[in-house]
Amino acid sequence: MRYLPHTDEEIAAMLAVVGRNSLDELFCSIPDHCRYQGEMPLPEALSEWQLEEHFAELGEVMTVGSRHKVLIGAGSAHHFIPESIRALLSRSEFLTAYTPYQPEIAQGTLQGIYEYQTLTARLLGMDVANASMYDGASALAEALLMALRIGRKKSRVAVAGSIHPHYRQVVRTYLGPAGYELVELPVGPEGRCDLSALGDLGELAAVAVQSPNFFGVVEDLELLGQQIHQSGALFIVSFSEPLAFGLFKNPGECGADIACGEGQSFGMPRSFGGAGLGMFACREQFVRNMPGRLVGETLDRQGRRGFVLTLATREQHIRREKATSNICSNQGICAMTAAMYMASLGGTGLRRLARLNYDKAQYCQERLGQVGGKVLWNSPVFNEFVIEFAERDFGPVRQRLLAAGIVAGLDLGRFYPEHAGRYLFGITETVDKAVIDRVAEEVEK
């Protein structure tokens, strides 16, 4: 086996040094009743070439492939990824390194993550961003737990019903067993978060809102932030499309105390939903309550600038059960990817790309409106929008489009039964006008 370098002679020589007669004897401390019986029932080992063949077959049974135009976002967006990023990510100096606990030989990772933290903080308008969380969902759960720590005696939090349904499910999973109470706020008539019940909810440690929300609607974060702060709760902004902050006001400007979300759209393929990136940032006053790793600047013994993991006294390996989170491994290389992507776009490019995404979705929404599609809400959207085709059954249209290589939107019914038959479309810079026109033409037929 090519990954195992030992020859029979070497094994024999090594066994002689350790005073054993066989490899089996190395395991003499294992009692019989703990031993594996027989051989593990696994398929035969494949050669590298057979393995490639097997994966080619797995690829072939995917009836929607990489050439399809998938007009779905819903927390997993398709954006162009420059080849330069793929090439840089293949550098094994980054990929095959461990967590940078030995800073003298990990300055590449450490400076890279420090840059990621800085660009993320600037993007979100926050003081400090951490080195990453698992994904947008667990980042939100951890943000709420953080707010509960800050709120001390408070044991209730609220989340907008327009937050990604899967994020809300993960929040429920995380908060349930510790006995915290979770309230869901209704979606208002314009597809935006409805805070009218806020006054009746009693003391809340935090209120979380997503923008753009699951329906693609851009929330009026400034207004929401004021109302939430008036109620005495912390204001958490969740997101699944950070590109939006290239065009719209960022969470920090709107008063967010914590901003967290999914960063997959910054240079990571959809890859069936992972590995993505949990982005997490907060105001400076809350840093010591923050979950996750942090990289900080310092000096070496000769006074040269360098970077280290810092404020580790918050973390599980030091603080044990009193840690701010149990997270250890995070999404390191994904954070590095996002930084490469932000660097490649630059401030000018990010704004241009955000604007292009806005325009495309706007065009698609209008174009479908012209052929009888009814835009559900009259709110501004970014990248995504909800539409219904009341006059005709969209099912057959969707089938015809699929045959033409286009996956036209996502039926909302599986997440919101009241919206069954309404479709959530996701449009990015990867969708040409011709594709949008084709969808419209098919609706018209």
Partner: protein, 483 residues
Amino acid sequence: MITESNGMMQDEPLLWEKGRRGRQGMSIPASDVPPGKPPAELCGEGPDFPDLSEVDVVRHYTRLSGWNYGVDRGMYPLGSCTMKYNPKINDRLAATPAIAAAHPLLDESQVQGCLQLMYRLQQALAAITGLPGVCLQPAAGAQGELAGMLLFAAWHRHRGSRRTKILIPDTAHGTNPASAALCGFKPVPVASGAEGILEPAAVDALMDEETAGIMITNPNTLGLFESNIREIADLVHARGGLVYGDGANMNAVMGIVSPARCGIDVMHLNLHKTFSTPHGGGGPGAGPVCVSAELSPFLPVPRVVLSDGRYRLEEDHPLAVGRVHAFHGNFSVLVRAYAYIRSMGAEYLKRASQLAVLNAAYLKESLKDTLPLAFPRPCMHECVFSDAWLHEQNVTTLDFAKRLIDYGYHPPTIYFPLVVPGAIMIEPTETESKEELDRFIATVKQIVQEADDDPELLRQAPVRAKLCRLDETRAARQPCLCG
């Protein structure tokens, strides 16, 4: 202006210290649609990012990469972290176009390849652990632990038993107490015995009607097999508790130990350790949980099942603890681990464990007269030495570790596990050859000699890295986390 140069280990400024307004590092398509009218009151300025060209970005990260040490560069004997070689083919397979492009919310019928892969990986992990229920969602070992603790809580609640404590040995993984606490369990430490392993009597004294169960890392963080695990499991079960197996060290015992026969009810596996996926400078990992048939109804949803020749995602399980990831976990990591298991088969997975243990035993035997062993028992995949030898020279474990850097090695894990003073924890993994180990052994002996002859060499180390020792106290006292 000529910036400071460090020869071929070039200096490189921070991203925002470079660039010129108006540069662009990636291709952005020209707009083919009419401009929309974003509402001015919601619009912002956009972030203050530097503008860089593609060359700027490529040079920047290429230079940074030169300051890093990875497995491809050399031996990485970090105890408990399992820095084995990461096969190249697996990275490429994860980029298979149809798989890398798959949207997670497509219809089941459109993504049979992805679901088949997940199903087969579930089956493989079930075969390896002997535990039939598998959930692939947890994004890392610690999230696997959390999922496991959620399962404990759900199982007890379902039986109407209210338990608030959890037993955690002092040789367990560092994340265990924090994971248990997230579920509202109060960790109760259990001291390991004089031999470095758990004694049933110690568990007997603590396991009561308020205790949900025990979390055991086996082999433990001293690299020792918990030989009493079955007796301990029987005892915990008899008192209505459950046994959690932290499988972070499963790489030592694949095909040799059956976690199911050890009496383990729930176990997570670290695919980025045992199954060779790259650590990525901190992640992503993957921490699937494997459970007994009795615990299976509580597993997170959705689950991949096979019926009538089609792979499906099942959501409707009323007892399930819920969802722990937005989609299906770190799928690109699952792909790599699956490829590794298919490349190895049962025979070579077992062989990998045997050779991992052989390598650790060989290192231990070769160094036991140079460094003091913490526990003179047969070791599994890693061995732990103490710092008793260093006191005379007024040199610390940290100094020793840093000196290894000057010889081109990543240092071992140090000061962990906490039960060993000044611990030096070495895990060579099976992918290091005998001559590589011999070189490492000779280097350690040389550094020990240096500690006698010229301890200043250790105290000043490293002198051949990009930077010399960094001031961590300063970083923590005056945090500068954002540039």
